[in-house]
């Protein structure tokens, strides 16, 4: 009868090197995730998502699905622990980031007291485009909330609380800034009038539909967390045909929708928000594109990360 060899795991603090926990009789086929759960039992405030365990204090953090017996440790392992700070699940993160702009814009749209001159409190704008912009902006964020709750499938990843607060400050602050001007009593409607608004609206609607189609299509890929067996491809839905040209058409459509909103409102803060978003999304798209080309040998050469033929 073969004897199972048990592992001993010692967990030290990365900075002070003092021993925080000693686990004996650990099954060899345990994963790093199992060890984190065991560690959590001794230190209830450090739930697994907050733990970073490393083989070397300055090395890379181990993944939850790494198995103890596959690590270069022998039967007695020493792991170094670092606290990543309070964490939020992705769903919570996105809900927080999207609810803010939605509600804040409405505060400005209804001209709640103390924002504008008191004689304009709770009045409404005489321009049609202001009502339309409110509808579009609100639709955009309601759609995003809907997708966060019903469409996207997130890995079990989390985001540090501090980073979430920083992101929220950015989105909420920018929403307040652009809503201030669009709903201002001295707002100037677009220079080319109804034509400009009409075409901008068409761009906006098409891009929102495209963005949703792409999210839906990404949802139907059979993925386990971050690893996918296939890369995304165009389907029967014409909006997904952008996959022929770009790796991340969801970002392309997102930029397009904001370009539409910028043209519709003819407002510099909106254009600035669009521009900064474009820069950030291009960085993300380039990263995603690199991951795809690395993981799939048959990835089409023709595709660019975010802009067809260009970027």
């Amino acid at each position: 009868m073969s004897r199972t060899i048990f592992f001993e795991v010692e967990i030290l603090d990365s900075k002070t090197k003092e021993q925080l926990c000693f686990l004996d009789k650990v099954e060899p086929h345990s994963s790093v995730g199992d060890i984190k759960s065991l560690f959590h039992k001794s230190y209830p405030k450090w739930y697994p998502a907050r733990q970073a365990l490393r083989l070397d204090p300055k090395g890379k953090a181990l993944r939850n699905d790494d198995l103890l017996q596959n690590l270069p440790v022998g039967t007695s392992a020493t792991l170094y622990f670092r606290d990543l700070g309070p964490q939020l699940g992705w769903t919570m993160v996105f809900l927080a980031e999207y609810i803010g702009p939605l509600l804040i814009y409405l505060l400005f749209y209804f001209r709640v007291p103390y924002i504008y001159n008191h004689k304009y409190t709770l009045t409404s704008s005489s321009h049609h485009v202001v009502n339309l912009a409110c509808a579009c902006h609100s639709f955009h964020y309601i759609k995003r909330l809907f997708e966060t709750i019903f469409v996207h499938r997130f890995s079990n990843g989390t985001m540090p609380l501090r980073a979430t607060l920083r992101n929220c400050a950015y989105y909420w602050g920018f929403a307040a800034w652009l809503a201030y001007y669009i709903n201002h009593p001295l707002y100037t409607p677009p220079s080319y009038g109804k034509t400009q608004v009409r075409y901008a609206l068409i761009i906006f609607v098409l891009c929102e539909a495209g963005n949703f189609s792409v999210h839906w299509s990404l949802n139907s890929l059979k993925c386990e967390g971050a690893k996918c067996r296939r890369f995304p491809n165009p389907s029967k839905n014409p909006f997904t045909w952008l996959f022929f040209f770009v790796s991340c058409p969801n970002y392309t459509y997102e930029v397009g929708a904001w370009v539409g909103l910028s043209i519709m409102t003819q407002c510099v803060p909106v254009a600035l928000f669009t521009f900064l978003g474009f820069i950030q999304m291009s960085i993300w798209a380039k990263g995603k594109h690199k991951t795809y080309t690395r993981e799939f040998k048959d990835y089409p050469n023709f595709r660019m990360p975010i802009l067809p033929f260009i970027l």
């Binding site: 001007y181 201002h184 001295l186 100037t188 003819q266 510099v268 803060p269």
Partner: protein, 240 residues
């Protein structure tokens, strides 16, 4: 097969040679740049001393040296480029913030506003002393002949110079506020077809407030560097 291996080593030698040439060109350029900047700020220092000795007062001194100051301070933009292409190993952002704040002071605050002379002289004198020390430190470092007193100066004078410079800059911006408010300069009011507004007065107040988080970060960064550089020396001496 054998010739394939030889080609490999030849290629390696070529890239190594290219790296060495690039390194030599970078060092030569940086040495020239730092010598030029040291000289420039020395010229400024001499001009200021001469003016004061000749006129006996500091009134009108800033107007006298303003052009030279603007020239050499603007030239420092190149340092951001040095970090960006990697020939200087400092963060682009840190250098960018420092250079931008200097350019902002010189082109957007003192350039356009009639000034209270004392605070302007304060920060210009501080800048001159700091920059001469800094650029001569870099120069001697690149030439591998660093006199101890320059190293001492670079890592100790900032302890007093930095806060003095900040006080001078903040007093200057504060003194400019009434004038900015009255003239409405650099400001854009509603309504306009871009649907945006900009109030330079409030912008200056935000700039002043931003010193509160930024200054301690830069100051403690320098203190940490000082401890690392000078403390390392003490350890070496003990071994001897």
């Amino acid at each position: 097969m054998a010739s394939g291996e030889e080609d490999g080593t030849v290629e390696e030698k070529e890239t190594n040679n290219k790296k060495r040439t690039k390194g030599a060109i970078a060092t030569a350029w940086l040495t020239f740049y730092n010598i030029a900047m040291t000289a420039g700020w020395l010229v400024l220092a001499v001009a200021m001393v001469r003016y004061y000795l000749q006129k006996g007062t500091h009134k009108g001194l800033y107007r006298n040296i303003a052009r030279t100051l603007k020239f050499f301070q603007t030239f420092a933009l190149l340092e951001v480029g040095h970090c960006a292409i990697g020939i200087v190993r400092t963060s682009v952002i840190v250098t960018g913030v420092q250079v931008c704040s200097r350019i902002f002071m010189v082109w957007f605050v003192t350039n356009s506003i009639r000034q209270n002379e004392e605070s302007v002289i304060l920060f210009v004198v501080v800048w001159t002393i700091t920059e001469i020390t800094r650029y001569s430190f870099y120069t001697f470092n690149l030439l591998n002949h660093l006199p101890y007193f320059i190293k001492w100066a670079r890592y100790n004078m900032f302890i007093v110079m930095y806060p003095l410079g900040v006080i001078g800059e903040l007093l200057t911006i504060h003194a400019s506020l009434p004038y900015v408010r009255r003239s409405g300069m650099y400001s854009l009011r509603l309504p306009n077809k871009y649907n945006v507004s900009f109030d330079y007065y409030y912008f200056l107040i935000i700039v002043m407030l931003s010193y509160i988080p930024l200054f301690p970060q830069l100051y403690f960064h320098m203190l940490r560097q000082r401890r690392r550089v000078l403390h390392g020396e003490i350890v070496v001496e003990k071994d001897e």
